[in-house]
Amino acid sequence: MSSETATAAQLRSFVAGRKRRTHLGFLILALVVILSIVVALTSGPISISPQRLWALARSAFDGQSSGQTSPGLARDALVLFNIRLPRIVLALLLGAALGVSGTVMQGLFRNPLADPGIVGISSGAALAAALMIVLGHHIPGVDPALMQTVALPLAAFLGGLTATLFLYGIATREGQTSVATMLLAGIALAALAMACIGLLIFISDDRQLRDITFWTLGSLGGANWQKVAVVAPIVALLLGATPLLARGMNALSLGEAAAFHLGVPVQIIKTVCIVLVALAVGVSVAVAGTIGFVGIVVPHLLRLAVGADHRTLLPMSAMAGAVLLVIADAIARTIVAPADLPIGILTALIGGPFFLWLLLRRNRNIDL
């Protein structure tokens, strides 16, 4: 009797401690997000000091900037509002989308190797993009300008979505989706897509080859408010749905059968997760190319830090993913200024060693 109450008390204090840690985690992450935005706003090939930033923000909000400003201030305002700000907002949105997508995929597949690419989006999108780059000029009415602004992103988005639906169709029998089949079919599809891209590379000319390379490395260089407007609703949909999915995903971590017997609509959750992730990652590939490693590093890091409860894990993944991409992009446009480094190189350069360190400092092996 007395030992039972002792255990209950221990449990209570454990839960309370975890809650405190979670609250603290959210607070810290929120501060880091704000800090990273300020850092990103003030860094770039054109130097804009925090004081300048403040002055610009004030003059923009006052709505009477043109009168007394110096030309330097005018240029800085243009750079800040039309180039740097959309880029940062896009990085925030895509980082959040990629981070959450990674967590959702790892939770759904109950596999730490799963990342958003696993549902075939990245390979499908990359193949469609390569097809467009190499063969797009044969389509009547597609001139080079239209190709880069509309045709290429659209092709990537549709390619990613098609690949996902194809995989989903393969893995679904009698209304039940087998995540194991989807995982394996995803690997096969990725190999197939890579082979087709190899074929396209073979028949491509010098410039097309460079375009394919840059596409597969990802970049936020072409960010503008139109792209933000396209991406925002889809990312909002994903982020808005996560609180509804969190409980179901927690149950799913016990196994599909157990979750089903707990009364969780397993099949609906699977379908919703796959469709949302396909949409979010598809649109991110469409506007910025394939950006790797965010979706795999972020969930792992957070799971080690705050545990596996999806109710905290999902929103935190959004915040941490956003921070990672905003910082990586700030480095991308500063480190080789006035040129731009593809951001995929940076996320892999930061993410790879960090991930290895994470694995090394664990004192036991991970079961897949």
């Binding site: 003059s59 909000f61 009477q64 900037s65 400003t69 005018a74 010098d206 072409g222």
Partner: protein, 305 residues
């Protein structure tokens, strides 16, 4: 920070209106002093464009170049580099406070060009075909843009004359050689230039026949394809000073069996000089021609058109 956010909410609509009007207002403010000073600040994107601006003696107006601006070597050494011409960064270009960007057709991405134009930068895209016509037009166009019509006309007249001499000289060639241009080796296999390449145009200018003319673009050739192409001469386009050991090329299986190996006819030329299609192209074509047909006298041809 929080204060600023509060501000943003309360003044949202006004702020939005201000932001929309901002670019227009800024444009005039940003351009006025530059025009008054009368000094152009040019971002030059594209190897041949940078070369032409240097040839016109206007290099002081260049504030930044791209990674393809290899000649003169001084350009990339002394000027900031805005990256590869297909992957420009809007903020990077603007950070050089340019008044004009002259770029080869195909520069981009399109979104970046859009941003640059909306920032009030004058962006000129120039045709980039591997032909004599295109080189001459480019020189004249750049002369107009830089308000250096006189020196540009002199340069383009000189280049046109060189091309005409080249044409006359080419007519004296009795038997055209089959020429293969190799851009280096990948995994031990030669990357040869097919049709639709600058190298193909160069071979034609120099009075040769492209031995790899059965294919398009730059591709790796199999051993059998090399033997089938039967080049009389192999031209190595060298990217740097290093590169492969060219002497050994005729010891390799496939090249051993070509007519070029029999005469050890290997010509090495700098890739940018050979394929750049800038103001030195006629000279490069003549160099290549003289090395292909050594019997030809380096002096000017007797018959003038």
């Amino acid at each position: 920070m929080l204060q600023a956010i509060g501000w943003a909410f309360s003044n949202g609509r006004r702020a939005r209106r201000a932001r929309n009007m901002l670019p227009l207002a800024l444009l005039c403010a940003a351009c006025a002093p530059a025009l008054a000073a009368g000094q152009q600040r040019i971002v030059s994107v594209g190897g041949s464009i940078t070369e032409i601006i240097y040839a016109l003696g206007a290099q002081d107006r260049i504030v930044a170049v791209d990674t393809t601006s290899l000649y003169p070597a001084e350009a990339l050494r002394t000027k900031p580099n805005v990256g590869y011409l297909r992957q420009l960064s809007a903020e990077g270009v603007l950070s050089q406070t340019p008044t004009l960007m002259i770029a080869a057709e195909g520069a981009g991405p399109a979104d970046t060009l859009g941003l640059l134009k909306s920032a009030g930068l004058r962006v000129m895209l120039l045709d980039e075909q591997p032909s004599a016509r295109s080189v001459i037009d480019k020189i004249d166009e750049i002369g107009r843009l830089l308000d250096l019509q006189q020196p540009a006309q002199e340069l383009s007249a000189k280049v046109r004359k060189e091309f005409e001499d080249l044409d006359a000289r080419r007519k004296t060639i009795a038997k055209r050689l089959r020429v293969m241009v190799i851009l280096g080796f990948q995994n031990g296999r030669a990357m040869a230039a097919g049709r639709k390449t600058a190298a193909d145009a160069m071979i034609a200018l120099a009075g040769g026949i492209n031995a790899a003319g059965a294919m398009d673009n730059y591709k790796q050739l199999s051993d059998e394809a090399i033997i089938d192409a039967a080049p009389d001469a192999v031209v190595m386009a060298q990217r740097g000073d290093d590169d492969v050991l060219p002497a050994s090329i005729f010891d390799q299986g496939a090249f051993k069996a070509t007519p070029a190996a029999a005469t050890h006819n290997l010509i090495q030329m700098n890739a940018n000089y050979l394929l750049g299609f800038g103001p030195r192209t006629a000279q490069a074509a003549q160099d290549l021609m003289l090395r292909l047909y050594p019997a030809m006298s380096p002096a000017k041809p007797a018959t003038k058109p």
